[in-house]
Amino acid sequence: MPELKYVDGYPEYMRESIEVVNRTRGKRKDFVPDAMTAEEREEVLKVHPDYAPGGKRELALGPNAGDPVPGPVADLLEAYPLIDGKEIDLARADLEVDVMVVGGGLAGTAAALCAHDSGVAKDKILLVNKLRHGDCNSIMAEGGTQAADRPFDSPDRHFLDTIGGGHYANKPDVLRALVEDAPTIMHWLEELGAVFDKEDNGDYVENWGGGTTARRMHSCRDYTGLEEFRVLRDEFRARGIPKLEHSPAIELTTDGSGRVTGAVLYNLETGEYRVVGSKVVILATGGFGRLHIRGFPTTNHYGATADGLVLASRAGAKLRDADTVQYHPTGAAYPVQIVGFLLTEKLRGAGAQPVNREGEAFVFPLEPRDVEASSLIRECYVRDNGITTPSGLRGVWLDTPLIDVKNGAGYIDRQFPAMKRMYARFDIDMRKDPVLVFPTLHYQNGGVETDPDGRTNVEGLWVAGEVSGGVHGKNRLMGNSTLDTMVFGRRAGISAAQAVASAGAGERTFQHVTSYVRTLEEAGVATDRRAPMLLPEYRGKAALARMIDVL
């Protein structure tokens, strides 16, 4: 195949359609397609990967036996443990603490800080990370955090927007906690010194998000999660709370009657295990984007492999809404080096429009995410109005230059430095040319069910953040995930701290693991699959085929 000729970052053949988009921009400046009716939404959702045929199966066993979940999730929930416990002396703890937090994104870091604020001595807290403290989805959140704090807005409006977007499946008590705590979380971040976008008079700049009926998105340019996370991490470091990195929890321990009492950690670099006893465990392990459900690329960080779902479920925790997956409408579709990377919804909140090959705006830009993503899939694969890239992907344009047309020159420079930088690295100027997008696997909508304090049905086990389920129902809105992590990280930390005051250390056993293996065998699950997965496999097939283990 001859080398393609590139003009301003795009192969020459794609420029024809780009010129159509650039030419029609003036006409589209004041035109926005109508938002869909409930019936139109229902129709387009038929092409959503969650609702298109196939892709799921019912769990054969466990607390959620009979529930449909995506195939790759079922594969992990119906898999044998990495260790059977015989090789490990569980009775001897290398470390005993009161509160162990597993996972160091926003939720886990908030939980550790709030447990400390609530009276747990810092040396009785341990934060464990599979990778670095900071390898998480939180740090890559771009667009914003919702909080209903303007006079027009209200927590009940936030509640209604969220439950409508979530297909009315949201758990009302946790959703109420989310919207009522949101302004308090903003206050907490202000006290810790996070820097949010503000108007000249000191009020927050607040933007639209998909499916919101009021502007309530608080942002830090397009580095919102980075700013929130690095502030919390700096506070965590400033207090000297202990942590272990590159040490995933590979199994929880229970006391034999169902209570969680600690975990076995595995040093990814040396291969050594460590047993940690803890009066309570808070799982904040994030989601499952790296399972590439339905073969989609993902916005998620390297470690998003559903480990928390596996550990919690083996210990008896109940999941909910684990059948739904969020595909972010606008993942990068070109160039190939950044396929699947997130293009924040804030771009559409600021006026960018999805546009097809012919330069037509075909969808209201701010539908809830599942509806918006489905419209893009329909435009590419049903109506055949997409553009095909050199590597064979289809996408539609996101007309980013429209942002500066609507808001004035320099707006992209100020508000979207991360997006602009990412494209500039591949010779594309998103201020002048549109960018190609297609939905990308973004978020685990469901997860472990909790009460409003993050408590699960398993004694001694709390969860917070993406690993939990209920608050977003079957589809999360933009800006509710960073909020979720901090609302429930904080609540879990406070509530766990209260619990340890009256709890003693429990015996550590693998009884739940043994009985889980028995259930697998009884259900006739014959497989060599083992879980948790810990890391996805991206090594080249040629290299893998020749690997031998001799040392």
Partner: protein, 252 residues
């Protein structure tokens, strides 16, 4: 609406090499790169990170978000025949033929122990926690090393002047990858200095909005309890009606 099962398979097939690892038979163009001195032939359209994986490395360090936000994958490299040492994020940089590279998985540096509520909003906060900041010789090596193209030396100078607003503006896009600190001849840890400075600005230089405080007070007084009680107890049918009737704030 057509054959939707087939549609999902077509989508999945188009991204297969990105989700399951690269298969050699799909590759058209190749380059040679040198990972810590050893040569590997890799597909030309990969990033440094995916090229290392193609070569057979299973990354544990130097790989985090994979999208340019977390700072885990700091990398330094030289192009063939050039004297200049370049820095980059492995996940954001396409491989080039003849590139010789190594990753910097960790940057040893202590972060300050402090309580933000009891620090002075003045230059002294830097001299107290990071006194080495005064050793800056304005050589600009940090700026040249920054993969985000920030004016690192300028924000260090803002710190020395006690200009918290300027420091915040100049350092805001810092992902704390550590490349500046590794190269600094004055041994300043620029990204920690900036972190301290931004938090001080956020707390003391950019006051909490009045409308936020007012809303928190309203919630505490129970102003929204009745509306939330009603929503939390409503049936799906009632919620559907309320949702359909909910009017969007005017854009004006």
């Amino acid at each position: 609406m057509g054959n939707q099962t087939g549609m999902m398979e077509r989508i999945s097939e188009s991204t297969r090499s990105l989700t399951t690892g690269v298969d050699t038979k799909d590759v058209e163009h190749w380059v040679m790169i040198y990972i810590m001195g050893r040569g590997y032939r890799v597909p030309a359209d990969l990033t440094i990170m995916t090229a290392m994986e193609f070569a057979g490395y299973r990354l544990i360090r130097s790989c985090g978000c994979r999208q340019g936000f977390c700072g885990a994958c700091a990398t330094i490299f030289r192009r063939e025949g050039e004297y200049k040492l370049e820095s980059a994020l492995a996940c954001q940089t396409r491989v080039e033929d003849g590139m010789s590279l190594v990753q910097i998985p960790f940057s040893p540096a202590d972060a300050a122990s402090y309580d933000i509520a009891s620090e002075a909003y003045a230059y002294s906060v830097f001299s107290k926690h990071y006194p080495e900041v005064a050793r800056c010789v304005s050589c600009n090596t940090c700026t040249k090393a920054c993969p985000q193209d920030l004016e690192v030396m300028d924000y260090v100078q803002s710190a020395i002047k006690g200009d918290f607003g300027g420091l915040t503006e100049q350092s805001f896009d810092c992902i704390q990858c550590g490349l500046c600190a590794i190269r600094c001849p004055a041994e300043i840890v620029q990204y920690n200095v900036a972190q301290l400075g931004r938090r001080m600005y956020g707390r003391y230089g950019s006051p909490e909005p009045a409308h936020l405080k007012a809303r928190i007070a309203e919630i505490e007084e129970g102003k929204f309890d009745e509306a939330l009680d009603r929503l939390a107890g409503a049936s799906t049918e009632e919620l559907e009606k309320l949702y359909a009737a909910s009017e969007r704030e005017s854009d004006g």
